[in-house]
Amino acid sequence: MDIPRGNIIVMDRRRGKLRVGQGLIQGLKVVWDHWAGSFHKNENFSQIHGTFTVEYPDERLPLPQTYRNMPVLLYDDESGHELCTGCYQCQRICPPQVIHITQAKDPVTGKMVPAATEFIIEYDACMSCGFCAEVCPFDSIKMDHVYELSTADRVSLTMRKAQLNRPISYYASIAPDLWAEVQAGAMKKLQGSIKRRPDVIGLAAVLTEKIKARRLELAAAAAAAPAAAAPAPAAPAAPAAKLTPEEKAAKLAAMKATNANKGVAAPPAKAPVELSPADAKAAKLAAIKAANAAKQAGAAAPPAEVPAELPPTDAKAAKLAAIKAANAAKKAAEQGNSE
């Protein structure tokens, strides 16, 4: 028989030149060498003699950064903002199905909010595969390095959110390289989500600094010009009646003017971020109302001309607005036809 790139070796069963009993002595020599070697410590992989072991509870070997034991949740050190948005990705992928998430809901509207009110991991059934940490798009679930979890009480291994929460600085201290990797890849991973809602949606990773700066900026702006900021939300909130296209255009112009006054080059898409929650709601309401008005007005809705005035960085937002306007126009036209 022939095999490619190699030979067949038939193992040699013949004895060497050893006499009876010498084989045993040869073996004992090996054992002796190990015994003699056991008096010095072996620090190097290239040595076969010497002591490798450490006296465990007193000494511990350093763990590699990639080491994974049990999953924990991360939160931002300063703000306490939890990175988890309750997207259920980890719950879905978990092979033994030990992750249970309760999505947070807005008490007023009953709509889902990107946060988790409760997050349970059954540590006793977790198989430490690390899939949850791998799929998490917000890098909020990470594998901990703590391995001394033994307890006589099984129920205590069902971990709730309060027990799972760890500050980001903790994870950065046990796995600095991995955290640096996360920070480098965060923007790409999250794509638009952070841009749109950095304060709400998780991942402070790459944006921790940016968010901090932004918060300071906002606070400063709010303190410096409360009067200037006030009219912005007031304007859209006031008119309850349906807007005519002319009125709407006027409003848009007003909003732009206030933005310019504030000295922030914020495009319309980013506007809600700067507003307090109540204001954001009002603005949203106004936007919806505006869209309705556009629908009713028909094909010649003014939003189509707005994108042209925006800076090139917002090409995407402009495109989106244009598409929306076109859709609304189409709908209006259809309605007209059916009537």
Binding site: M11, G16, L24, G27, K29, H34, T66, Y67, P95, G130
Partner: protein
């Protein structure tokens, strides 16, 4: 001649030398074994049914738990099966990392298996401690690469979970420096040791025809003198790029299996040296960026097999077009290798049973799935 009465005894399921919960129903006539019936199923974990309820992706960590000594090799077989089914390409560097891990697995398995075999013979812990020490070094490498020592869960469809850490290669090279010394030392300790020869020479002979008839694979088959290694017979992954020899035995007894395992460790070291030479740099990518993990393979079936340290591990997957396998079948080497145990033990003394069982090198996690 004195008329004697046959006696049935149970070895196991709870017995330190049965490598898990395995029961042997032995019929003895005095000291001589007239019949042996392997009884397994005590460690049944519903592996295959469980896998059919999980997605393809979720099954990867479960394959670790088949043969928990060689998690990387199991991962490899499963990854190849799914990649074949879906049609995912694996980048060069990932292939090299995979083969590197699998060959390290082979070394640690044989180091451990021989240690346990010698342990079963009564040399309490001597060889086992030496073997475990080498295994420990390799497990350290696994831990630094994958994050876990045993349940590595390192392979993904289209690559591996993450690239090798920076300190991996220097440590691997250190390890390879020590490796020949370790294997030679092991051979010095075992090869001509009179006690070992007494216990292993001519014991548990599995003739070639019988081995083939039972479709035994791995070192047990090669110990019986059949030069069959899937890495050579049907090269998967990138095994056609490496030079290595296939050691075979001539008699098919326990001693041959020991010698084959010792030589296989040397050959694995040869492969690892070639990998270090050929390994593409980190730009090669450890993961196919287009590969999706939550795969939805087209309707069809696939059988993929690899040569794990214990023999042929195969995964038979049937896809009905959903994200979960319709059928998931494991062809486990330990299970198939265990079936001729009765024929191997017949006619030998009852004290040889544990030695013969140890020479097959089983892991019960794989026998009962």
């Amino acid at each position: 001649m004195l008329k004697t009465e046959e006696l049935q005894i149970n070895i196991g399921p709870q017995h330190p030398s049965t490598h898990g919960v395995f029961r042997m129903l032995v019929t003895v006539d005095g000291e001589t074994i007239t019949d042996l019936k392997p009884v397994f199923g005590y460690l049944h974990r519903n592996h295959e049914q469980l896998a059919e309820m999980n997605t393809y992706q979720q099954n990867m960590p479960y394959t670790d738990r088949l043969d928990y000594f060689n998690a990387m090799a199991n991962n490899h077989a499963y990854a190849i099966a799914v990649e074949k089914l879906v049609g995912i390409e694996v980048p060069e560097r990932a292939e090299y990392i995979r083969v590197l891990m699998v060959e390290l697995t082979r070394i640690l398995n044989h180091a451990g298996a021989l240690g346990f075999l010698i342990n079963d013979m009564g040399a309490w812990q001597t060889q086992l401690a030496f073997g475990m020490r080498e295994r420990e070094k390799i497990l350290d490498l696994f831990e630094s690469a994958s994050g876990a020592r045993l349940m590595c869960n390192y392979f993904r469809f289209g690559g591996v979970a993450r690239d090798l850490p920076a300190d991996f290669m220097p440590r691997l090279k250190d390890l390879l420096l020590a490796m020949p010394g370790f294997v030679d030392e092991m051979e010095r300790l075992l090869r001509e040791n009179e006690i070992l020869l007494q216990r292993s020479e001519g014991i548990g002979i599995l003739p070639q025809e019988l081995a083939l008839a039972y479709s035994v694979t791995g070192p047990v088959l090669r110990g019986s003198g059949v030069a069959y290694d899937i890495r050579k017979a049907e090269p998967y992954s990138i095994y056609d790029r490496f030079d290595f020899d296939v050691p075979v035995g001539s008699v098919g007894d326990v001693y041959d299996r020991i010698l084959v395992r010792i030589e296989e460790m040397r050959q694995s070291k040869r492969i690892i040296e070639q990998i270090i030479e050929q390994l593409p740099d980190a730009q090669g990518g450890y993961m196919n960026p287009k590969a999706r993990q939550n795969v939805r393979p087209p309707v069809g079936d696939v059988y993929a097999r690899v040569e794990t340290p214990k023999g042929e591990l195969g995964f038979y997957l049937v896809s009905d077009g959903s994200t979960k396998p319709y059928r998931y079948k494991v062809r486990a080497p330990s299970f198939i290798n265990l079936t001729p145990l009765g024929d191997m033990c017949r006619g030998y003394k009852v004290a040889d049973v544990v030695v013969i069982l140890g020479s097959i090198d089983i892991v019960m996690g794989e026998v009962d799935r």
